[in-house]
């Protein structure tokens, strides 16, 4: 069982929350959208996606329910909860701080 590092795990949470903040999505679509929007740079492995979804659900950030897709199939759709929206906001702020901090460090290293 490989566990993603904290950074990556946190990042995946942020990506998922952000993706479904616009509209409810099922797992496959979430992975697909992250891939598309990031210009195929971010590949979400299914092995990480589903445990992450279940964890977020257990924490109450997202809710799941079964709906019918456009293709007429049953799929489990995930919706952001109110608490999840607040959490997303918090994670965004954190990500900004983190990425700008990492950026600072890297740039300093480049100038040496």
């Amino acid at each position: 069982m490989s566990k993603p590092s904290d950074l990556i795990q946190g990042t995946l949470d942020l990506l998922i929350l952000n993706t479904i903040s616009l509209q409810p999505q099922h797992g496959w679509a979430i992975a697909k959208r992250i891939q598309q929007i990031s210009n195929e740079i971010l590949q979400v492995s299914q092995g990480a996606l589903y445990p992450a979804l279940h964890r977020l659900e257990q924490q109450g950030w997202i809710k799941a329910d079964w709906r019918v897709t456009e293709g007429g199939r049953d799929a489990k759709f995930y919706t952001l909860t109110r608490a999840g929206r607040i959490q997303l906001q918090r994670e965004r702020v954190q990500w900004e701080r983190l990425s700008s901090a990492v950026g600072l460090v890297i740039r300093m290293g480049a100038s040496v």
Binding site: Q46, G47, Y50, G60
Partner: protein, 887 residues
């Protein structure tokens, strides 16, 4: 908040709907797979290719499922469940161990629950009145009187002038004789109460009305409020009882109210009646019957404070009023004494209950230590099992959790069994509570007690489980695995720990034994103390002549004289007499500020003595010895000269070094010659209660000169006094067929009841101490016997090298004695500090009584020796050949 609720529901669902969650996960993943396959086909793959590629992309399905399961976080609940099953299975594998440990815990947890239920009912439950903390008892006190009832006129002034009480009421004992309802005349326990008494307490009547201030007028006083019990038993629950007239003390009273069932009397001090559902009826007190009397004190007073007023405020308020009263009337040295009703009711029993709680708590602690000891022994037998488990990857925390689960299962089983014991125990406890114990009717096993038991059980389980669990989980894996299963042993550390536990257990048991020993010593002192009278062979009863028919004084005197003469004429009756009270019944009639002839006014202001009335035969019937002078001779004249008999303490207090005979006292402030009462006899001291530390001065006036209507009768019999009861009833009926006989008791019973508090406490503490001793002995046996088993091989070698069996015997015994001496020493030191808390439960023995301490130390050593003897014998029988062969 909503989120927490959602999470809770979700977790419950995942916990109980595991199968469904799994199914949903399967569907979710297969949906994902299908989507991927379709996409792959859209990109031009063949269907087979597309499916294979999608599966590759997904990775291990099982792994995903497993991780999702982890994420659902219900795992620890599931492990608890498996821990539980494992624990139960394990415990069932060693039934002897389990039964012993559960039984000892059940005994001590059950004892704790039973004692706690008494504490809960008596001390913790609020009083059965609304806003009980606003109720206060109001007394006077002085240098000579710690707690004195109020005078009715003082009470009226307090009630009118105070600014701190919402309402105030006073009650005084007023038993009445009910007749004319069919059946024998019956003595009813009654109280005269002032207006609004029930309203002040916050009790409402089932029907009818409370007394009003109009009812306090003398011409309105023939009213009665009945208890539910009386209404049902004597009036067949008559629905039209209100307005009905009944005959009390041969006079006509009108019923104006009925109380609901279980109306609670708050207890009273003067001519005390125990609290609870103890009163039969209430009549209004006429506040105006003695307008100029400020000297008689008999009103037990209770007030309800206005909201926001403290007891201190109220005290200051009443004190200011009393100062005014002293200016308006000639007041004596009275002060106001107020006390919250709760403290007044439970104060006397508090100490004893806390001592019992302490004792039973110690017992539980000992049981915990004992359980820990047994678990340690078991853990060393399980070293291999634990080693194997950790070798297979169990984390240390996991193993500790498993072991703690086991001890919790044990503790909860003990608690369940203990609760059953407590159910029976509480019934026994209540049945054996000392006479007049406050709030006894409120004692029961209720939800609070069950909650207490549960908490105690969990704490107990953690307490005795933690040390063994921590120790066991620290086992050296390699060593334990390398050793063969045959001789898996505990480490030296573990053994040392067990020694400490045994020392602690012995110490705790010694503390309890010393407490029990001191109480036993006190009780023996009480039994051996000279009571000053002879309670054997005496039958007693009380009579109360109705005022209406015995208004004329000579009729009263004549009645009692004739009755006693008739009684003494009965075969088997040696002496008969009557008096205002019997020894040890809590009588508290007092005379303060009487004049001693030839003394200064300042001296006379501080005089105080118990005030009694008696007939000639009273002292002979009770065998109170005459020390000097004579008893009454029955020829005393109602018009004087007045005579009295005093006790030894009175003679010594007021005429030290002189002969008290012929000395005189008077109640008048400026007595004339005829007002003096002359001492004709001095009798032996009788204490108020068997455990009173001081004896109050007391005097008796002859009944002919102080013709009370209500007297106790005492008859000394040469045969079984019980046989006199019927003849006594007949003798009374012969003189007055409408007179009720009440309180028929043997003087022996009264004396026994006076000691019931001490007997009760002694019995319980003694019981707990014996249990503690048994547990400690058992613990000692366990440790020594285990160590002998471990060392049999060594003992065999010693024998082979020339040791004699007696050497081994001595070796083991000295090992045990070392432990118990250490334990007893610690116990004695702790006890020296703790026994002071026994306080008033001790009588005639110091809290650090050396005899008791030494006896307990010896007892501890003796039982240890016995506990060690069997293992020592086993050691002495070690077989040298066996050891040599296995070497």
């Amino acid at each position: 908040m909503k989120r927490l609720f959602d999470i809770f529901v979700l977790r419950l669902r995942t916990l109980f709907g595991r199968a469904r969650a799994e199914r949903e996960l399967d569907r979710e993943i297969s949906f994902h797979l299908d989507q991927q396959v379709q996409e792959n086909i859209a990109h031009g793959m063949s269907p087979d290719e597309a499916r294979a590629a999608a599966k590759r992309g997904l990775g291990g399905v099982t792994q995903i499922q497993e991780e999702c399961r982890d994420m659902r976080r219900t795992n620890h609940v599931e492990t608890i469940w498996s821990d539980l099953r494992y624990a139960v299975r394990n415990l069932r594998r060693t039934p002897g161990f389990t039964v012993i440990i559960v039984l000892t815990l059940a005994l001590s947890i059950g004892a704790n629950s039973a004692i706690f239920s008494v504490i809960q009912g008596v001390l913790l439950k609020p009083l059965p009145y609304p806003q009980p903390d606003r109720l206060a008892r109001i007394y006077f006190n002085s240098d000579t009187q710690p707690k004195f009832p109020l005078n009715p006129n003082d009470f009226r002034d307090f009630r009118e002038r105070n600014r701190t009480f919402e309402s105030m009421a006073a009650i005084t004992r007023h038993d009445l004789q009910l007749s004319g309802t069919g059946g024998e005349p019956m003595m009813l326990r009654g109280f005269s109460v002032t207006a609004g008494y029930f309203h002040m307490l916050g009790l409402s009547l089932a029907r009818g009305r409370d007394f009003s201030t109009d009812d306090e007028l003398p011409e309105r006083g023939r009213l009665a409020i009945l208890s539910d019990r009386l209404w049902r038993s004597r009036f067949a629950a008559d629905q039209n009882i209100l307005g009905r007239t009944i005959t009390l003390n041969t006079e006509t009273y009108t019923v104006v109210g009925v109380m609901p069932p279980g109306a609670q009397h708050p207890g009273n001090n003067f001519q005390a009646v125990a609290d609870g559902d103890t009163v039969d009826l209430w009549t209004p007190y006429s506040l105006y019957q003695m307008p100029n009397d400020r000297g008689s004190h008999f009103m037990d007073t209770i007030g309800r404070l206005k909201s926001g007023i403290t007891h201190e405020d109220a005290h200051a308020d009443l004190t200011a009023i009393l100062e005014q009263l002293k200016k308006e009337h000639t007041g004596k040295g009275w002060r106001v004494y107020t006390i919250p009703l709760y403290r007044e009711m439970v104060g006397r029993s508090q100490r004893m209950l806390l001592v019992l709680l302490g004792a039973v708590g110690l017992l539980l602690l000992i049981a915990c230590v004992n359980a820990a000891n047994l678990l340690l022994a078991r853990a060393s037998a399980r070293v291999r099992e634990i080693a194997v488990r950790s070798a297979l990857g169990a984390a240390r925390g996991r193993i500790i959790r498993q072991l703690l689960t086991e001890s919790l299962v044990i503790a909860l089983a003990g608690a369940a069994l203990g609760t059953l014991l407590a159910v029976a125990g509480v019934r026994v406890l209540v049945a054996f509570l000392p006479a007049g114990f406050p709030r006894a009717s409120e004692i029961r096993l209720d939800s609070t007690v069950f909650a207490f038991t549960l908490v105690v059980a969990i704490l107990t389980g953690l307490l005795f489980g933690l040390v063994p669990a921590l120790t066991a989980s620290r086992t050296d894996l390699q060593q334990s695995l390398r050793e063969s299963g045959r001789s898996a042993t505990g480490t030296g550390r573990q053994f040392q720990l067990r020694n400490f536990l045994v020392i602690g257990e012995t110490g705790l048991a010694s503390v309890l034994l010393i407490a029990a020993g001191l109480m036993l010593h006190s009780f023996v002192n009480l039994l051996r103390a000279d009571p000053g009278f002879q309670p054997q062979q005496v039958l007693t009863a009380s009579l109360s002549l109705p005022y209406q028919r015995y208004r004329e004084v000579p009729k009263r005197v004549q009645f009692y004289q004739q009755l006693i003469a008739n009684l003494e004429a009965l075969p088997g009756v040696q002496y008969a007499g009557a008096g205002t009270d019997l020894p040890w019944t809590g009588y508290d009639g007092n005379a303060d500020g009487f004049k001693v002839e030839g003394r200064s006014d300042a001296y006379n202001q501080k005089t105080s003595a118990r005030y009694h009335v008696a007939t000639a035969g009273y002292f002979r019937a009770l065998e109170i010895p005459l020390l000097n002078g004579r008893f009454f001779d029955g020829r005393e004249d109602a018009n004087g000269p007045f005579v009295i008999i005093v006790n030894e303490s009175m003679a010594n207090r007021y005429w030290p070094g002189e002969n008290a005979l012929g000395k005189r006292i008077s109640f008048r402030s400026s007595p004339q010659e005829k007002d003096w009462m002359q001492i004709v006899g001095v009798v032996r001291d009788v204490k108020d209660q068997p455990d009173s530390t001081t004896i109050r001065p007391a005097f008796w006036m002859p009944h002919a000169q102080q013709p009370e209507r209500n007297l106790f009768i005492a008859m000394r019999s040469s045969t079984d006094p019980v046989l006199l009861a019927n003849q006594f009833r007949l003798a009374v009926r012969e003189l007055d067929p409408e007179l009720a006989v009440a309180d028929l008791r043997l003087m022996n019973q009264i004396a026994g009841a006076a000691l019931s508090g001490q007997r009760f406490a002694l019995f319980l503490v003694g019981l707990f101490a014996l249990l503690a001793l048994a547990l400690a002995t058992f613990g000692m046996y366990g440790v020594i016997s285990y160590s002998v088993n471990q060392r049999m091989h060594e003992f065999g070698l010693r024998m082979a090298l020339g040791a004699r069996p007696s050497d081994l015997l001595r070796l083991i015994l000295s090992q045990g004695l070392t432990l118990s001496i250490a334990g007893a020493a610690i116990g004695l030191i702790c006890a020296a500090g703790l026994t002071r808390l026994l306080g008033a439960l001790l009588y005639g023995v110091k809290a650090t009584d050396p005899i008791t301490f030494a006896a307990v130390a010896l007892l501890a050593l003796a039982t240890t020796t016995i506990a060690c003897y069997l293992p020592a014998r086993r050691a002495a029988s070690a077989d040298p050949m066996h050891s040599l062969r296995s070497e």
